[in-house]
């Protein structure tokens, strides 16, 4: 039986909800905070900011990361920037406009109240990060500089060269490091969460595996926060770091946390196209490049001439042609589909004809090479290192790739999952981006959740638990979860089949990319849903993991992650099949208008689909949270 989910959104006008929530939330007095232990999993932007802030408030915090250092979390790779409604440039920005752009950008599939809160705290994030010493780009007068990003008509993106994520993460990491140095946070590095433990209906803690010696251990906490990032690596090839995975969220899902909108995945339009079969990942070229680069393909299919020899009238600047008001800055989902169509029509460029041009010749002519170099120098260098081509001389070649996942664990207004005491923040939750995320909004959301939302909501859950006993590590549920985890990892070693985890991951990724990627059809999804379980069966019978479980074994780590990706992949396809409409990153070929734009069905699908685990992802139960739009009008999203 499916249930209607309750978001616990406070009453009142949209602009007052967050203030009134904070006024009403229960508090834990400063001296009592140290009686509570909070487990924070992940030290990316969401996790580092949450762990540092909770420790500053006085909670005991244990922080976990599978990386060797908190600073290596995948947030480090974000390039372009972070949005905030500062309106420093007096170009008409406001909290309301950022809120509206984000809801519209998400194709009206996000929860208004969460998005408004995000826009409200965005301004505090910039203040906080500047105070931490983040060297954001400045103008000559010393004030902060901004650039514009896709899906917005104002300049509200703060940036630090092409390394905004790095600088923000280092800011949050340093704040966390201070708390570690002071003894307020205990850090568990190279330790991976492999299960969550629920006792009497509440999250009682987690089970982890030490990646150095394979030791499996439990940790108890009054509350647990998952800040474990997105699942874009389900596709195998993506812009995510090699070790990004869905295990933490998936294991929580198996213990009762609903998984929301798994089919909402973002395919980023500007990545370097695949060059050969050994390719292990794809590299993003920041969206900010679209500020000054023009996207085009030859008008004639099969045109083999080098870019410079194709005269202007024979080029199709298709984004400028189709979306005159946003042009090259059309939102990601729209730009990605347009690139796919250009390549599918035989007009792709490059040796494998699998890309489109992103051309800087005009900008270099207009601004001079120095200005272009100042803005994008490090990205150009990175491009040259990877492709051996010089983008100052020939256009970059780009193609869409899996980049970000809007879906994730369902959370209520307080960021609590459907398991009481288990919270989820950052990319790992589903909350703010609906069916499509706008550029520069993920960094904003991670830091909003970690710095400003969680620390204000967690007390509401903890306060009534003061001085009440909680289950200890000797509780049979912990022992049972540890035993199950041990058996699972030993199981991978015992199969002794013939194919490596990577081998299966590639095949799995190809199925999901082909049928649940940029364009989806009922027939394709049905096909994926018959191929995936079959391949998963082979995985269980024919996996080969060499080495042992008692020392560092990356093959074994990978096996556990691929196992979870298989199950997630099935749920992604089921979700995509059931959502019989097109919206944002979810494009169902059957649902498009005459011009090929996504056609939503607000009557039947203006809701969140939150899947409940039943023991088999093929039989998960689809629950819904209806989305109410009070502050914005549901409208067809147009960027023309």
């Amino acid at each position: 039986m499916s249930v209607d989910l309750v978001s616990k959104t406070p009453e009142g006008p949209i602009a007052d909800k967050w203030e009134s929530y904070k006024e009403d939330a229960k508090l834990v007095n400063p001296n009592n905070k140290r009686k509570f232990k909070v487990l924070v999993i992940g030290t990316g932007l969401a996790g580092a900011s949450a762990a540092a802030t909770l420790a500053e408030l006085g909670y005991q915090v244990d922080a976990f990361t599978f990386h060797d250092s908190p600073r290596r979390a995948h947030s480090i790779a974000a390039q372009g920037g972070i949005n905030a409604a500062k309106n420093y440039h007096y170009d008409g920005d406001s909290v309301h406009r950022l809120f509206y752009d984000t809801v519209k950008g998400g194709d009206f599939r996000s929860r208004e109240s969460n998005v408004h809160r995000l826009a409200e705290v965005s301004v505090n994030i910039i203040d906080q990060m500047v105070a931490q010493g983040v060297p954001f780009a400045r103008e000559y007068g010393g004030m902060l500089d901004n650039r514009s990003f896709g899906g917005a008509q104002v300049s509200r993106t703060f940036y630090a060269r092409g390394q905004t994520g790095q600088q923000l993460l280092l800011g949050a990491y340093q704040q966390l490091a201070r708390q570690i140095g002071l003894g307020n946070v205990r850090l568990f590095n190279r330790v991976e969460l492999i299960d969550t433990v629920v006792i009497d209906g509440k999250c009682a803690g987690i089970v982890t595996r030490d990646l150095i010696n394979g030791e499996i251990q439990s940790h108890a906490g009054h509350a647990t926060v998952l800040c474990t990032g997105g699942y874009g690596n389900a596709f195998f090839l993506s812009t995510n770091a090699m070790n990004c995975n869905v295990t933490a969220a998936w294991r929580a899902h198996q213990r009762g946390a609903y998984f929301a909108n798994p089919c909402y995945t973002q395919i980023h339009p500007t990545c370097i196209p695949q060059s050969d079969d050994t390719q292990s990942k794809l590299t993003l070229m920041s969206e900010s490049l679209r500020n000054d680069g023009r996207v085009w393909v030859p008008k004639t299919p099969g045109d083999e001439r080098p870019a410079a020899q194709i005269p202007e009238p024979e080029r199709d600047y298709y984004l400028e042609r189709m979306y005159p008001s946003y042009g090259n800055l059309a939102p990601r989902d729209i730009a990605s589909r347009a690139a796919k169509r250009a390549v599918d029509s035989g007009r792709g460029v490059g040796p494998l004809k699998n890309g489109v041009n992103l051309d800087f010749a005009d900008s270099i002519g207009r601004l001079g090479r120095d200005v272009v170099e100042e803005r994008y120098g490090n990205l150009f260098e990175m491009y040259e290192r990877i492709t051996g081509e010089n983008p100052y001389q020939t256009p970059m070649r780009i193609y869409p790739a899996s980049h970000y996942t809007m879906g994730g664990l369902w959370v209520d207004y307080e960021l609590m999952t459907t398991i009481p005491g288990l919270y989820c923040a950052g990319e790992a939750n589903f909350s703010d981006h609906g069916a499509n995320r706008l550029g520069a909004s993920a960094l904003m959301q991670g830091l909003a959740d970690g710095y400003f939302v969680l620390p204000a909501t967690i007390g509401n859950y903890l306060a009534p638990m003061l001085n009440k006993p909680t289950p200890g590590l000797d509780h049979p549920e912990f022992k049972a979860a540890e035993a199950a985890a041990r058996a699972r990892f030993q199981g991978y070693l015992d199969i002794k089949g013939t194919r490596s985890p990577d081998h299966f991951h590639r095949e799995l990724g190809k199925i999901i990319w082909d049928y649940c990627g940029m364009e989806r059809t009922e027939q394709g999804l049905e096909k994926a849903l018959s191929e995936l379980p079959a391949l998963y069966d082979e995985f269980k019978k024919d996996l080969r993991v060499t080495g042992s479980g008692a020392s560092t074994n990356q093959t074994l780590e990978k096996a556990g992650r691929v196992d979870d990706f298989f199950q997630l992949g099935m749920l992604m396809c089921r979700d995509a099949l059931e959502r019989r409409e097109s919206c944002g990153g979810h494009f169902r070929v059957e649902y498009q208008d005459e011009e090929g734009e996504a056609k939503r069905d607000d009557e039947h699908f203006a809701h969140v689909a939150a899947w409940e685990w039943t023991g088999d992802p093929m039989n998960a139960i689809r629950n819904v949270e209806e989305l109410d739009f009070e502050a914005v009008h549901l409208a067809t999203r147009s960027y023309k």
Binding site: S69, G181, N243, T278, T283, S500
Partner: protein, 257 residues
Amino acid sequence: MTHLTNLTLKIWRQSGPDDGGHFESYKVDEISDEASFLEMLDVLNERLINEGQEAVVFDHDCREGICGTCSLMIDGVAHGPQRGTATCQLHMRKFTSNVEIVVEPWRATGFPIIKDLMTDRAALDRIVEAGGYITAPTGGAPDANLIPVAKPVADAAMDAAECIGCGACVAACPNGAANLFTGAKITHLNLLPQGQAERFSRAEAMVEKMEEYFGSCTNHGECEAACPKSISIDVIALMNADYLKSKIKNRKSLSRT
């Protein structure tokens, strides 16, 4: 796309911290010049697994030259032959056919080997924990534009802040010193107006923590050459100056309390 052929990889294998370790040679018959160095190791590992052997352990993650996880000595050079480039961004087009390539882990007392090519670099985190931050608890920050930062200052801070914490500077240094890493963090924070309040306590605490784990700098300059972000050794000069001053300033402020 062309291919390189007949490569021999001489790779350091070590089963754990207590094992002595040894080199093992592996043939790579053919690899695309578009492949990255780490993709070549992926191909090798796939083959080792197929042959029933244990894969070579090496650290890596973003493969975009930004997370600082990858860390290989290639032919005796930290991050290999291409300057200003992390191991993961090194591509096979920088090599030729028919050669032997020696692959080792970072070698430094501050970085004990965990297994094969993977080392423990946690000592770098200890240095940051000692003072590599600005104390600004969440919630109390003033409006960001209230603290103007002159563009040249912001740019210089950013140059230093680009450090990815990979430890190549330590690995390249004959003394295993971590001065470039520590100097970069101190320079980033000590140049900014927000960093002034803790400027000298930061310099003192970080330098002294660094000395607990790492060797002493004797100005070889190998660190700058190995740095994938080409961070300048000027940051070491600034660190040394602030450290010296800290000895006076911190004592003065102590006597006042």
